[in-house]
Point group: C2
Chain length 734, copies 2
């Protein structure tokens, strides 16, 4: 076989004749099973690596049923209920929850539960309420509530059904399949569970000499995923730690950190510390505490895997809480690789940028599942769309491997699809091969993205439910999506990093998001040290780009605290009495490739220029949508929103150059005249990878130096005509 | 002459032959001069009342120049200026101001000026800054500012040119007219000025026996109107008291109230206490203090006028600060009448609802000015538009008089226009005559509009620069505009009124406006007494209607603090992880006359239903635009915005009936089936006034009782066909 590698395919039984040829065509060097399929006996003769899925914290129902006290828990909040004029208030705490998933844990409930008056924010003393009922039917009665105040009950609950398995079960109607049970998880903090996990791990490895790679799916604590009384999704936070709690853990935390945790530390007014909330000190401590615990235990499992000569591969999802791949405990685990689902350029970079592993692998869309691979389905179209999105990111920071999931027997019924993924695999490998293993070159402009999370949540900003489309995020996610394919080394920095002098390492800093969120920063901007660090950065020639509601918090006559640098502020209604005479000056370096209006998505409301010095580049319905401002030595750029598009990525590319004061260099940066085309430059190889991101043919001009993005090489100008979606390697000499 | 009355016309010299006939056709019983015209000698023979304009606080340049220390002042703020990395910071405080209007008053400036660090909000001690320059060129230098903090200077300044006269002067290019001077005002608190004002008033009255009505235009303190360095409007607040300040006044205030005033009490972070700001205690005290002073002095002038057998008529505008016509000192003045410009139904009600006077007069559009009365101009169209807007309001609460302004010699060149205003005058008088002097009947549903201002600013909410179109207000002004013509007795109530039990007198309460403004209420909603009063009101069967961002302040897991009553809340980004499954149920009593989408104007962002009980009546782009919610005995209605339209007025009409639980009564309320038609019912006269608000013919059905809106009269159904804009009196018996 002519294996070229870097590709993982799902295989299954009953295709033994076809498998060698399929693997050969695709150059696949690894195979895996999928949910509900088993590796065929021929596997060991295929000459490829073998992956197999492993679930450390669920799957053994016998153990689970014998150790119900080892089930994981979560913290949940009841509905908000208004007290009547007089008399007690009874709250059915399970209203709206799915009783087959959630069961209140009444153990020591006076310690762990909390009843809160949401009108005042005060906690109702434990003497003031009582609990009745059992199992999943539990009522909390507040004896003497204040009339017409709103109350909630925060309670600890058992996860009586594993969230992912429940999702698969209900989605696939497994209630009709007598071989399926409702799987219950077990908590790695429980001593018996942990003993069971390690011994099972050893036993599993022993029993599977044919497996080369243990694909952990995943570890101990599920992201927050709760279902409603109809069994539909009720709350989902892919970053949430609410399901990582237990009295054992909270007591261990208290012993170590010296302070008691309370329910509200997790409930967070019902927002459950989702990643849009500026993280509290307590929540940051908890993340650190759990990440340290999880990482140390995962390391023990990985050590076992290694002791059997196998590799450990982590699936980035499901029960991944605590293995923050950009967290400080991550490198200690010794994980060999990470595999994750690629849904966009940004999610691709989220995987390919993970430090401290030997390889990252992207699982591409579409899955070989019958929802797409059916008569009338368009697997080819989905493959193209997925590849065009991911290719931009891969050309900037290559994944080491790609792969697919699902049922190969379905995919082979679509020969055009199979031919296309063969091309994709070759195109993917060329980036490693022609690039000679070097990373593509980045601009020397050092760019930072500033928010409350910083590096810890690199490429993970503004995501709800793992990168689905949400009305309030797409206008910001477009910034990440653009940057995932632009030639900048992007650092994710936190407000604390700024206070620690991190801006010294940057040329341009971005603050992107909606007011009050962790991504904009909320009340962080009331901190004098933070705000003066940014203003000083700008005064020394730094560039500041604000998108949406940057630095927004109402204070002392301004809403954008960086309004002096950005040259714009937002009208909340208070300053309408001030006359404004906005004049659009549409011609600018930043807008040179944007002939018409800027698509700002949801926009940011009513934005006005703070003075005549602000250059309004796009004005719509009397609101500023794009502005440039020279403030002393530094420069500010404001953008009202930036959903991803080819045009918008180019606007951001140019905005960064302008903010850095480097617009004079832009013309020889190998930037295509056609915004639908992008280029990655590999100077060590003397080549550039040109991508047509369009599904139609594209003509473009390119200008650049033989030395790459910088240096003093001669400037070459090329004219290219590219086929739809084509990528092409060109020589930098022209 | 066949004078029918209630109409005031501007007349001028050179038309003696035509005047009797014109006055007769229009039934005018009063005449006035206009700017730049003089009453003809024939006036006294016309048998009509004579108005003449009077300016108490400007017009005598000799006195003004001899008493420059009597000029009025205002409090102004400099630009926001960022301090450099090191060294002093010099702020040109006059940057952006018009030096012919503004001159810093350096008298005792360490007492009256303030330098503020807007990054911290702290005041810079007076030792820390110095002032250089004189006249209108003044620089404040902060010796040792904190690097990169933003500073402002608040300063007291002389008004060296009266704001209205300056506006007229620059607008009409009077700089080319050698007879014109730049008029300087004088402050009624200055003892010499006040002595001069009273003696001048007497002298003026003595010298004008032919004048029946002294039209005060107006009194002492101008609304805030400041021009920029190009002479264009820079800041305008028709409700602003910033130009009512002086050391004398502030010292008198301190002596009475027992606390010192500071510049920031007026500067208000640069927002100058405009009516969108929740009023501070200090500003409320100042309004009260100045209103009391102004009212007492105006009363003295009015007493002089009365002593000469003349009437006193106040123009509602220009230097009107302190004569709040809905304020508690207003009735003591003894003003005979108020005249104001009518730009909409709401501004018409603002005039016609003023208590404690004998007559209100609306000055209608268009003015007889050459900008409209010229070849190609459309005075007829403007008259129709203005009348259609005002008629709704007049039919609900009649003005006693109407009138016009400008140059009659221009208007008579447009005979169609003259014929139309003759019809309008007749139509107007019919409301008094056929209605037999009774007010039209209101529904028994008692409606209150709740905001921070309450009755003091009746019909004056959400106005910037006296009812011009502004992006952030039209979606709220439509509520007032609708109510101005709907058959409800509307009370304007404040949050303090609610705390004092005022809700007991109401059936439905509205809270309308943008978050944080005085109209929504901002942090007022953190007050437990307020919020529980509203919830208790609803629990007892009251109706709550929220429009825009009602009760909005982020607190304890909710943004709309009345979200339990309204059934909706606004997504700020924090609760996106909560799944929502909104289902529109478009058929409802409230939407019975709204076949399609609701026009919510600017809308209110991302609104979601808090639970399945909320009835979503209109859903657009996944956001709730109209919802109804039964909460216990009470009902909540949410509307995302309500710009004025016939359809929207009907939606509000129905929403109020539904919120009051009175929808069963609606069908016999004489409400036309055609939303372009409205009706005012006069049961004492046994008649109803039917108005076609459309400029096209309208067919409609009407159902109502012979007894009017209520009672047990037989129900009649009528079918009417109305001409464009027609009004028609019908008998309630059908």
């Amino acid at each position: 076989m002519n294996v070229r590698g870097r590709v993982t395919l799902p295989i299954e039984q009953g295709m033994d004749d076809q498998l060698p040829q399929i693997l050969d065509r695709l150059g696949a060097d690894a195979v895996r099973n999928s949910d509900g399929t088993w590796l065929p006996e021929i596997t060991s003769q295929l000459g490829v690596k073998v992956y197999e899925t492993y679930f450390p914290a669920r799957g053994n129902q016998e153990f689970a049923l014998a150790h119900l006290d080892a089930r994981p828990r979560f913290y949940l909040m009841s509905d908000r209920v208004t007290a009547p004029a007089e008399g007690p208030l009874a709250i059915d705490i399970m209203n709206g929850y799915y009783k087959m998933q959630v069961e209140p844990d009444q153990g020591d409930l006076q310690r762990w539960w909390e009843v809160i008056d949401r009108t005042t924010g005060e906690v109702v003393p434990v003497e003031g309420w009582s609990v009745s009922g059992e199992g999943a039917d539990v009522t909390v009665t507040i004896a003497a509530p204040v009339a017409f105040h709103v109350y909630t009950v925060s309670f600890l609950a058992w996860q009586v059904w594993d969230s992912t398995q429940m999702y698969n079960y209900t989605t696939n109607n497994w209630e009709n399949d007598p071989t399926r049970v409702r799987e219950i998880g077990y908590d790695a903090r429980h001593p018996d569970a942990w003993e069971f996990m390690t011994s099972s791990m050893r036993k599993w490895c022993e029993e599977r000499p044919e497996v080369d790679v243990v694909r952990f799916t995943t570890f101990f604590y599920h992201f927050t995923l709760v279902f409603n009384d109809l069994g539909k999704e009720k709350y989902v936070d892919w970053f949430g730690y609410s399901a990582s709690v237990s009295p054992l853990a909270m007591e261990a935390f208290e012993a170590e950190y010296g302070y008691k945790l309370r329910a509200e530390d997790f409930i967070d007014e019902g927002y459950y510390n989702n990643s849009f909330r500026v993280p509290s000190k307590v929540f940051s401590d908890w993340m650190d505490f759990q990440s340290r615990f999880v990482s140390s235990r995962v390391k023990e499992l990985v050590d076992i895997v290694h002791s059997f000569g196998k590799e450990a591969l982590m699936f980035l999802g499901d029960t991944w809480m605590g293995t923050e791949p950009y967290g400080k405990y991550w490198p200690e685990i010794g994980m060999d690789g990470v595999v994750g689902s690629v849904g966009s350029a940004a999610t691709c970079r989220m995987i390919s940028d993970i430090p401290g592993i030997r390889y990252s692998e992207g699982r591409f869309l579409p899955y070989f599942f019958p929802d797409v691979f059916k008569p009338g389905g368009d697997p080819l179209g989905e493959a193209n769309e997925s590849w065009l999105q991911a290719r931009r990111a891969i050309a900037r920071k290559p994944l080491e491997r790609i792969g697919y999931g699902g049922y190969l027997s379905l995919a082979v019924q679509f020969p055009e699809f199979m031919a296309r993924i063969e091309q994709i695999a070759d195109e993917f490998r060329s980036i490693h091969e022609v690039g000679e293993g070097h990373l593509p070159q980045s601009s020397t402009i050092r760019v930072g993205l500033l928010n409350a999370w910083g590096a810890q949540r690199s490429w993970q900003t503004h995501m709800v439910a793992h990168a689905l489309w949400y009305k309030q995020i797409y206008s910001y996610l477009g910034v990440l999506e653009s940057l995932a394919g632009l030639p900048f080394d992007l650092q994710f920095i936190s407000f604390d990093d700024v206070r620690d002098g991190k801006l010294d390492d940057l040329d341009v800093v971005l603050n992107v998001g909606a007011a009050g969120t962790a991504f904009s920063g909320g009340e962080q901007w009331l901190d004098n040290d933070l705000i003066t660090a940014l203003r000083g950065f700008a005064a020394n020639g730094g560039g500041v780009i604000g998108i949406g509601e940057p630095s927004a918090v109402q204070h002392q006559g301004a809403y954008f605290q960086l309004s002096d640098v950005l040259g714009v502020d937002k009208e909340l209604g208070f300053s309408q009495s001030t006359d404004r005479y906005p004049v659009e000056r549409p011609e600018h370096f930043i807008t040179a490739d944007l002939p018409g209006a800027l698509d700002v998505g949801e926009g940011a409301g009513d934005i006005f220029a703070t003075g005549d010095a602000t250059q309004i580049l796009r004005l719509q319905n009397r609101s500023v949508e794009l502005a440039a401002n020279q403030q002393g030595e530094g420069r500010g750029v404001y953008i009202a929103g930036l959903p991803y598009s080819h045009e918008n990525a180019r606007v951001l590319h140019r905005a960064i150059f302008w903010a850095a004061g480097r617009e004079a260099d832009f013309d020889a940066q190998w930037v295509p005249s056609n915004v639908g085309v992008e280029v990655s430059v590999f100077p060590e190889a003397g080549k550039a990878f040109v991508m047509n991101n369009l599904t139609e043919a594209a003509a473009t001009t390119l200008r650049g130096r033989a030395t790459g993005l910088d240096g003093d090489g001669a400037i070459t100008e090329l004219q290219l005509d590219l086929e739809p979606m084509e990528s092409r390697w060109i020589d930098l000499q022209g």
